[in-house]
Amino acid sequence: MAILEVRHLQKTFDHTQVLRDISFSMEKGSTLSLIGSSGSGKTTLLRCLNFLETPDEGQILVSGEVLFDASVPATRKEQEIRKKRLHFGLVFQSFNLFPQYTALENVMLARELLAREQPDYKQRKKQIREQIEAEGVQLLEQMGLRDRMGNYPHQLSGGQCQRVAIARALALKPDILCFDEPTSALDPELTGEVLKVIRELAERDTTMIIVTHEMAFARDVADTVIFMDDGRICEQGDPKEVFANPKEERTRQFLASHRT
């Protein structure tokens, strides 16, 4: 069964249709690259999956469970949505780390707040917190930030910040990790270290959706690539196929303008 299935998503902002009948599905452990020019709807699609925007039409299913259905008002309630969000993680272009917390605290904060809702939190407080901390440390080590855990975001480079943000998203063990142009705010030197981390995640079969302008990366890391244009899925398929022999004229134009 597909881990994620998106059916007929539509979204309109102030009379401009941003998403037009978006449908696709992906398998557990696979990586999906979303490419397309600015304004084609890639970011809005990710934001819909993370419930930061509410689609006007369509359904979102995770492992067969309907998380969102525009025609069922009950699935649109804020209370319901909070838990459903946890199926997804989102890494932002601008990191959005919490500036008053250290790298490790950034990774631990949401887990700790969620743990408080467990019925046995009061009795096992110390044990739970130690476990959350141990996992946070392990994630930051995995991101190559062993000696940066106690630093505040402003003491870190952009690439380090983005790796902390990735660890923070992973800490909640989302089914699907989304990246919204994770390297667009970074200079080329720092881009490499973030892409390396994402590649490693792909090798560990993390289910990921990556919006990116790094074409070579999109081609190498993804199992499937989706090219979006004007709110539609214009073309999708095996990245080697799409990049080598694009079927649609629009895809050809886009790829030609992104070849370096």
Binding site: N50, F51, L52, R82, K83, R85, L86, F88, G89, L90, F92, S94, N96, L97, F98, P99, Q100, L109, A110, L113, L114, Y152, P153, H154, R168, A169, L172
Partner: protein
């Protein structure tokens, strides 16, 4: 008037000014304690998505910020007794203090609310979104993510208002609250055997200066302590 005479009058004057300054400080602290939380409530009101509430709060803020605090003091103190025939404050010093504190709290809460609003709205939208995506509730996001960032952003403008408040307490003189200006002025008309002396009134400035000097140092330290993040 010569220095010897002033030297002679000094102990009596200092004693009276100290008593007056205690009342000044009391008004200062009571205003802060009341206006900090009330200002936050007003800020939330003015940012409310419920239109009638946000319009109403904005009109109140406009009236309070747009008219002199001295007039507000007079209205709050005299209006219930003279117009409504119900002198809720009573005539004594305690009644005057309650009326003054009410006027100051309302007035400063309105100024604070605008500072809070600026502080909250100045926090990048991405902070809220990051919290939401991590499954945090709106109140967790406010308390655990935004609050400290807001406090850091508002310390400098708040410091300004707090220092202004120390001096503004002298306006309570208009309803004869026995704060330090009232105490200094008393020696002009005659009090404790001293009359026609204007120097005690001038000398009150020293109290304000010292008090604001201490506050400037304390608020500067707070600003520094919050400098560990950006």
């Amino acid at each position: 008037m010569n220095m010897a005479q002033i030297w002679e009058q000094m102990p009596i004057v200092i004693g009276a000014l100290n008593t007056g300054f205690l009342q000044t400080l009391k008004l200062f602290f009571v205003t802060l304690i009341g206006a900090f939380p009330l200002g936050l409530l007003i800020a939330f009101g003015s940012m409310s998505r419920f239109r009638p509430l946000s319009y109403l709060t904005r009109v109140i803020v406009w009236i309070v910020r747009g008219s002199p605090l001295m007039i507000q003091l007079l209205i709050i103190y005299y209006f219930p007794g003279l117009v409504l025939g119900n002198p809720i404050w009573g005539g004594g010093e305690q009644g005057r203090f309650l009326a003054a504190a009410t006027a100051f709290i309302i007035n400063y809460a309105c100024y604070f609310s605008e500072i809070y609003r600026g502080g909250i709205q100045g926090i990048p939208r991405g902070q809220e979104e990051a919290g939401l995506v991590l499954g945090m509730t709106r109140s967790q996001i406010f308390l655990k993510v935004k609050l400290l960032q807001m406090i850091k952003a508002i310390v400098p403008p708040m410091s300004n208002e707090i220092i202004t408040l120390v001096k503004d307490t002298s306006l309570a003189r208009i309803i004869a609250l026995q704060e330090i200006i009232w105490a200094g002025q008393a020696f002009m008309k005659g009090s404790q055997g001293i009359s026609g002396a204007i120097w005690p009134l001038f000398f009150t400035a020293v109290y304000y200066l010292v008090c604001n000097g201490i506050l400037t140092i304390l608020l500067g330290r707070l600003e520094k302590r919050l400098g560990y993040f950006r």
